[in-house]
């Protein structure tokens, strides 16, 4: 009989697709994983920037057209929210005026002194290259998952993965942005302890 229409179902998230083989169907794997637009990831982020190094806890919630990233210190202090939709990004810190900009990168750099390449990280954090952009170089592990990737001036390495609902998702991501002038060199180390794919 016809599928039962849920009366007032919450925003119905599509069922999680099965993972194609990263080894033999890398393009499908990359496309299907890239299209999962509803996910959340939690962990610790090490930041190495000439004069803003440190480590923060992060909680990144991604929805189809929007994202919300929370950063805070070890005792929960200094919460910073970076929220974005397709055309605008806001950055809020408790006790201060919210700031807005077109991109998260510019907003974070102006406020925090470092930045996350949010639009590409959206894919890199899943262990896949950003789509419709050239991949300068990539090396895969024997099981087909990415070991290293060079894209958009960033070198990304994936030292370890974890098994989540049939998908191999990164447990640790190291992203280095190397530019000629030393002072814009940035190294981000994500240690991920929780993945949720919807």
């Amino acid at each position: 009989c016809a599928g039962q229409q849920m009366p007032d179902s919450a925003q119905q998230t599509p069922p999680l697709p099965a993972a194609p083989s990263a080894l033999t169907q890398w393009d499908d794997y990359r496309t299907v994983l890239g299209n999962i637009a509803h996910w959340q990831v939690q962990g610790k982020l090490g930041i190495r920037v000439p004069d803003h190094s440190g480590s923060v806890y992060f909680n990144w919630k991604q929805l189809p057209e929007q994202f919300a990233i929370l950063l805070n210190g070890p005792l929960g202090q200094g919460s910073t929210w970076v929220r974005g939709t397709d055309n605008q990004v806001s950055l809020e810190q408790a006790g201060q005026e919210a700031r807005f900009a077109a991109t998260a990168e510019q907003l974070m750099y102006n406020t925090l002194g470092w930045w996350l390449p949010v639009s590409e990280l959206n894919y890199w954090v899943k262990g896949i290259p950003a789509p419709n952009q050239p991949v300068n170089q990539s090396i895969h592990y024997e099981d087909g998952t990415l070991q290293t990737l060079q894209q958009n001036g960033w070198d990304i390495s994936y030292p370890r993965y974890q098994q989540i609902d049939g998908w191999q998702l990164p447990g640790k991501v190291v992203a280095r942005h190397r530019l000629a002038d030393q002072d814009s060199d940035i190294k981000l180390t994500f240690i991920i302890n929780q993945w949720q794919l919807h």
């Binding site: 939690q42 962990g43 610790k44 090490g46 190495r48 004069d51 190094s53 440190g54 480590s55 806890y57 909680n59 929370l70 805070n72 210190g73 070890p74 005792l75 929960g76 202090q77 200094g78 919460s79 929210w81 809020e92 810190q93 408790a94 006790g95 201060q96 180390t189 240690i191 302890n193 929780q194």
Partner: protein
């Protein structure tokens, strides 16, 4: 006695306490978004050793002057000076003279065991700090920040302890650790 005096009476004998913590952060709607646990030692004035074991190893120690944040998995230690940031954490209770707390906070209590501290300044980063005592030891603390998010610290196996040497609240980086100093 005023609420502030009752609080200082409870805090005064606690020169050094140690125990375990569970730290739970909730968003304004009350959904948990992070949970961690470990051990702590707090010692007057202003000394703290906060060792997170789960989900990641992380050691925060301060001797009241410098703060060391050591991330074993990142092989880095960040050294910064005690600053405004730390005053937004429970460490403030052990950070200085008791009259400093009275200067910085309006203190409220109904039963002399649960206290709420509201920062006197405006544009504060957090709205309220709660402290709960049980048989003269701290049992729970909670911070309500400017976003309505709460960070709750449940303390267990809390005991008063002998005063520890300053070195217990300082950090020597192991070989090969990146040392990052914040001016």
């Amino acid at each position: 006695a005023s609420a502030a005096e009752k609080l200082t009476e409870q805090l005064a004998p606690l020169t050094a306490i140690t125990g375990r913590f569970t730290q739970i952060q909730k968003d304004a709607e009350g959904d948990v978004f992070s949970r961690s646990s470990g051990t702590f030692t707090m010692q007057r004035p202003g000394m703290l050793r906060w060792e997170t074991l789960e989900p990641f190893p992380q050691l925060l120690v301060t001797d009241g002057n410098k703060i060391w944040l050591y991330d074993e998995d990142l092989e880095q230690v960040t050294i910064s000076s005690v600053d405004e940031q730390l005053n937004q954490t429970p460490a403030i209770i052990f950070s200085g003279e008791l009259k400093q707390i009275k200067q910085q906070f309006d203190v409220y209590t109904k039963d002399g065991a649960r206290f709420s501290l509201k920062p006197k300044g405006s544009g504060e980063v957090y709205q309220r700090l709660d402290i709960e005592f049980e048989n003269n030891l701290i049992k729970r603390m909670m911070i309500l920040d400017g976003f309505g998010q709460t960070t709750e610290f449940a303390l267990t196996d809390v005991t008063a302890t002998a005063v520890k040497p300053l070195s217990h609240f300082q950090f020597q980086a192991p070989q090969g650790t990146d040392v990052l100093v914040h001016e």
